[in-house]
């Protein structure tokens, strides 16, 4: 085995291979930074280039780009509070507050370093587990996988901050949104309102970009000024390195969680990074600072999201079962070279496996170094008045949301969820449980369905299930004890300024949530037995919690909202409407013209920059997006009026 590893390593002495790797790393870094674009976009852009290469060069290129996407996506999450890819949403919780406190350098360097170590641990684990990977994967049946998912869901309990009721409701809403679409075995369509778009559910990219991205952008715009005060970055990045060394245990545990999330089918990078975040909070002695800029909240998910990709190679290469869309494309590329991954892969193509592992490890290191090198410059982005950054970010977010399914439904969903996310943020509803619930609904339901239809109720008595069940009980106990033991965690970012919204909107929002869950519960009566379990599990507790929350809010004393509340609310509505307007412009005039109009009017008319500045800015935004459209073969429907 080690011979093959060395032969594969020798290939990298070839400048051609290194050039391919660098090309992949550069592409991955850029795509990772762009909000909403992740591994799929990366491989889709590079795929047309591989048809003239040999299989090793092609794998070096593709794997090289995949390995760094989850390193560089952190940049957007930390600096702008908008997920660079869905898997980077967990990093926002603590990374973005750190950036606002002027510690962007520290957060970024800690993130890159833990990403790199996570990736390397993933690669090492991948290598060591090659001989035993097959039995390892076969160890987990549907019931055990189900218990793992439930354990992951229970972590949502740790993310509720100081508002357990709101957090619980938020998780239930996530579960409810996750159960939109066809039930796992296609038996019934739930909450689709006869819309074909909703048959497959709302895509993750749209949800992550909406709940975190749009909400944050509107908020930053309304706040005005720049993201962080212009202070000396100093040796912030050195502090980040020290943080990682100090919390090396979190890095190792986070990486291992990531590797497993990759190996086990259906979990994926996003759920993996949330699980890693949840475990960091669960195991911390002091939880006060989480959500307000605790460096451990950056290190945990970042060490996980790179190793997920390494773990994902195991089912892809040894079982021919890809864990996510990027590895599915990788599998397709292997088919193209006449290689069908499977049990024989280790015997017949061991050197190719090592080419992949080495590419992953080397690209990881180079990518982290590159990002680290770029980060002082990138951190300065937080000093620019945000309104000047906003048009470019908005255009990329729309672009990113549209590329996953090329359906306008994604953009409607993103805007709607953006409003929801903003309201949740203002009213002190934690958003993390919402995303955890949403991400884990599909696999949990699938494994519940499989366990019950395969084993009936017997699945509960399997030894693996019992062990994981005990772990689940321990986790719940921990969570409750942590709460009652005075280790209160304040709601995310609640400490900032006066709440814009007072008692009346709060009551209205809770009533609205109550109405939605009650209607969903009423609707779920008509679903067949297995298809109804999930909507009911989400809505029945949600109804009780919503009623309790409503009573609490009605009894609360009327807090005086800040003096500038009314104009600020108006301003926020205005910004939100400008996004809706952008969408309407796209529908009417097509994407190119709409982008140009939106960017120019926003800059010249609203931000009041010089016309030349606005013109050059507009030109570059339009140019870059059109180039990206071309590369991704992205199709924008022509506008109704022009085209």
């Amino acid at each position: 085995m080690w011979d093959a590893a060395l032969i594969a390593l020798e290939r990298f002495a070839n400048p051609h291979h290194m050039a391919m790797l660098m090309a992949g790393v550069l592409a991955g870094t850029v795509i990772g930074i762009l909000p909403g674009l992740g591994g799929i976009a990366c491989v889709a852009i590079l795929l047309p280039f591989i048809y003239t290469m040999d299989v090793h060069s092609a794998m070096v290129l593709l794997v090289g780009s995949l390995a760094v996407v989850h390193t560089s996506d952190t940049i957007t999450s930390v600096l702008i509070g908008t997920p660079g890819s869905a898997a980077a949403a967990a990093t926002i919780l603590d990374g973005h507050p750190l950036a606002k406190q002027g510690q962007a350098g520290r957060a970024l360097s800690a993130a890159f370093l833990s990403s790199m170590i996570g990736g390397l641990i993933g690669a090492l684990f991948l290598t060591l587990s090659l001989p035993i990977a097959r039995p390892l994967v076969l160890l987990f049946g549907s019931p055990e996988l189900l218990m793992l998912c439930v354990l992951g869901l229970s972590f949502a309990g740790f993310l509720t901050g100081g508002a357990p009721l709101k957090g619980g409701l938020s998780a239930c809403l996530g579960l409810l949104l996750g159960s939109v679409g066809s039930a796992p075995a296609d038996a019934v369509d739930r909450y689709t309102f006869d819309q074909l778009y909703l048959l497959d559910g709302v895509p993750l990219v749209g949800v992550a970009l909406g709940v975190f991205g749009i909400a944050e952008i509107i908020d930053l715009l309304a706040k005005g000024g720049q993201i962080a005060e212009r202070i000396n970055l100093g040796h912030g990045w050195l502090q980040g390195v020290r943080d990682v060394i100090q919390h090396w245990g979190i890095v190792v545990r986070g990486s291992l969680i990531g590797v497993w999330a990759g190996i086990l089918p259906g979990i994926g990078a996003t759920a993996g990074s949330w699980m890693a975040y949840g475990h960091v909070v669960a195991m911390a002695r002091d939880r006060e600072r989480f959500g307000k800029g605790d460096i451990r909240g950056v290190i945990g998910p970042e060490s996980a999201n790179n190793s997920v990709e390494a773990g994902d190679f195991i089912p892809t290469l040894l079982f021919s079962v890809p864990g996510g869309a990027p590895s599915a494309i990788l599998l397709g590329a292997l088919f193209f070279y006449g290689i069908q991954p499977g049990p024989r892969m280790v015997q017949e193509n061991l050197d190719l496996i090592f080419t992949i592992i080495w590419s992953f490890a080397i690209a990881n290191t180079i990518g982290a170094a590159l990002c680290l090198f770029l980060s002082p410059a990138l951190a300065r982005l937080t000093w620019i008045p945000f309104a000047r950054l906003a048009p470019a970010i908005v255009v990329t977010i729309f672009f990113g949301a549209f590329q996953s399914s090329q359906n306008f439904g994604d953009i409607y969903a993103m805007l709607g969820l953006g409003l929801l996310g903003w309201l949740m943020k203002q009213l002190g509803w934690p958003r993390a449980p919402f995303l955890v619930g949403f991400v884990l609904t599909k696999p949990t339901e699938q494994y519940l369905w499989l366990s019950i239809s395969r084993y009936g109720m017997e699945w509960l008595s399997r030894p693996g299930v019992i062990v994981l069940g005990l772990l689940l009980l321990a986790s719940i106990y921990w969570c409750i004890r942590g709460k009652s033991g005075g280790k209160e965690i304040p709601a995310e970012e609640s400490g900032e300024g006066t709440a814009v919204l007072g008692k009346v909107p709060s009551v209205l929002f809770t009533s609205f949530v109550l109405l939605v869950v009650a209607a969903a519960l009423y609707e779920s009566r008509s679903f067949p037995y297995l298809g109804a379990i999930f909507p009911m599990a989400a809505t029945i507790p949600a109804v009780f919690m919503a009623v309790a929350q409503l009573v609490l809010e009605l009894r609360a004393t009327r807090t005086a909202p800040g003096i500038e509340t009314r104009p600020k609310t108006k301003l926020i509505l205005g910004y939100f409407l400008s996004l809706v307007l952008f969408l309407l412009l796209i529908l009417l005039l097509g994407f190119g013209i709409a982008t140009a109009l939106f960017t120019f009017v926003f800059l010249y008319g609203w931000v009041r920059t010089g016309w030349l500045y606005a013109l050059i800015y507009t030109g570059s935004v339009v140019g870059v997006t059109l180039l990206m459209s071309q590369l991704l073969a992205l199709y924008w429907p022509q506008g109704i009026l022009l085209g």
């Binding site: 799929i40 889709a44 795929l47 048809y51 994967v137 076969l138 987990f140 049946g141 549907s142 066809s182 796992p184 075995a185 296609d186 038996a187 019934v188 074909l196 778009y197 048959l199 497959d200 089918p265 259906g266 089912p315 079982f319 021919s320 079962v321 890809p322 869309a325 599915a328 494309i329 599998l331 397709g332 088919f335 193209f336 070279y337 006449g338 290689i339 069908q340 991954p341 499977g342 049990p343 024989r344 399914s405 090329q406 359906n407 699938q446 369905w449 499989l450 239809s453 395969r454 067949p528 073969a633 199709y635």
Partner: protein, 366 residues
């Protein structure tokens, strides 16, 4: 020697006549500019990136474009979701009769039509198949279920099959179980055939099927280790539409052959009728590249010619073998009748299938 002199005195009309004549001669001699010269073809893929059909078309086009005069550029548009219906409708509504928009389809797109799904408002009769790629399927079982040979199926008890959805490709194995009157039930909800195979290896299920390429790569090693017993293939169609042995696995009997072996008579009955309707669209004509039926004749001609050339191209055949599954890439016109027949279903069979999946697998069809 006489000097060649420019005839300046000619009127403009004569110049034009000469120019026109020489142009006509030139085009006659060189042949008209190819139809696809400098054009781009947009291929609609009604699935997300990296699905089976997506990989299929993306793998063959780098070979296909060189064989088409004018080497058009192929652009792909994945319209995923909604059981493939939005993508199919996009083609049905937007494609013009110019051969510049094509569509890739797979079994997922045929079953809504066969099952009478009202949302599937597309009509295959308005399109023509350019290229067709059959796929095969092989069933195998676990020796732990007490099966050593295919004949043991009749007395095997408690067979459990892992599938994705009762109204997808899994319909074929599920119908086969009913046809052969086996004591088997389907556990549905897996995300893909690969995950279902992992469940088989884990012992959660004990009967399974894989498409032939996946079978060769991932199941044959299991058979060699004694962990799986090959049973039968779903068969392929011959030129007159009869179900015959699958050329990719010629040693394995087909489902109707196994029926004869077990029951001692030719298959008949409702389940047999259903099998005959659904098997071809699920496997024998699974992947199809379509164009609007009123496209220029040249479009059809160049694609058929390209298919013929690719069939003789060693490099293409070896490189794409895994993606094509060991089956030839066929010209659409050869199979046109079979294909159009494959999408016909009589009202009685349709009602029967809908009732059966509704009762046995609780599928609610509108």
């Amino acid at each position: 020697m006489k000097k060649i002199r420019f005839r300046a005195g000619w009127p403009i009309g004569r110049w034009l006549a000469v120019f026109g004549l020489s142009f006509a001669v030139a085009t006659q001699a060189l042949g008209a500019a190819p139809y696809y010269e400098g054009k781009a073809i947009e291929v609609i893929i009604p699935f997300p990136v990296a699905g089976g059909s997506d990989i299929w078309i993306r793998t063959i086009t780098p070979y296909l474009d060189k064989r088409i005069p004018g080497t058009p550029k192929f652009n792909f548009r994945n319209i995923g979701g909604g059981r493939g219906i939005p993508g199919m409708m996009e083609f049905a509504v937007k494609a013009k009769p110019d051969g510049l928009m094509l569509l890739v389809s797979s079994a997922t797109n045929y079953f809504p039509v066969l099952l009478g799904d009202k949302a599937a408002k597309y009509d295959f009769r308005q399109w023509k198949p350019l290229l067709v790629n059959p796929v095969g399927g092989v069933m195998y079982a676990s020796p732990a279920a007490g099966i050593k040979r295919v004949e043991d199926l009749a007395k095997a008890k408690n067979l459990i099959y892992g599938g994705i959805s009762a109204i997808g490709l899994d319909l074929i194995p599920l119908i086969s179980f009913e046809l052969l009157e086996m004591d088997a039930k389907g556990v549905l909800g897996f995300r893909g055939r690969g995950e279902a195979r992992i469940a088989f290896e884990r012992g959660e299920t004990n009967i399974d099927y894989q498409t032939t390429p996946a079978y060769n790569a991932t199941v044959v090693p299991l058979i060699q280790e004694g962990k799986a017993i090959p049973l039968m293939s779903f068969g392929q169609l011959d030129d007159s539409g009869n179900i015959v042995r699958d050329p990719a696995v010629p040693d394995l009997p087909t489902v109707p052959e196994v029926y004869e072996k077990i029951k001692g008579k030719k298959p008949s009955g409702k389940f047999w009728e259903t099998y005959k309707v659904f098997m071809p669209s699920a496997f024998a004509v699974q992947k199809i590249l379509w164009v609007k039926a009123d496209a220029p004749a040249e479009v059809l001609r160049v694609f058929y010619a390209a298919a013929d050339q690719l069939g003789k191209d060693k490099d293409f055949l070896t490189k794409t073998d895994k993606v094509l599954g060991g089956y030839p890439l066929l010209r659409g016109d050869r199979l046109e009748k079979t294909i159009q027949q494959a999408f016909q279903i009589d009202a009685e069979t349709q009602r029967f299938v809908r009732e059966w999946v509704g009762k046995k697998y609780r599928v609610k069809l509108d």
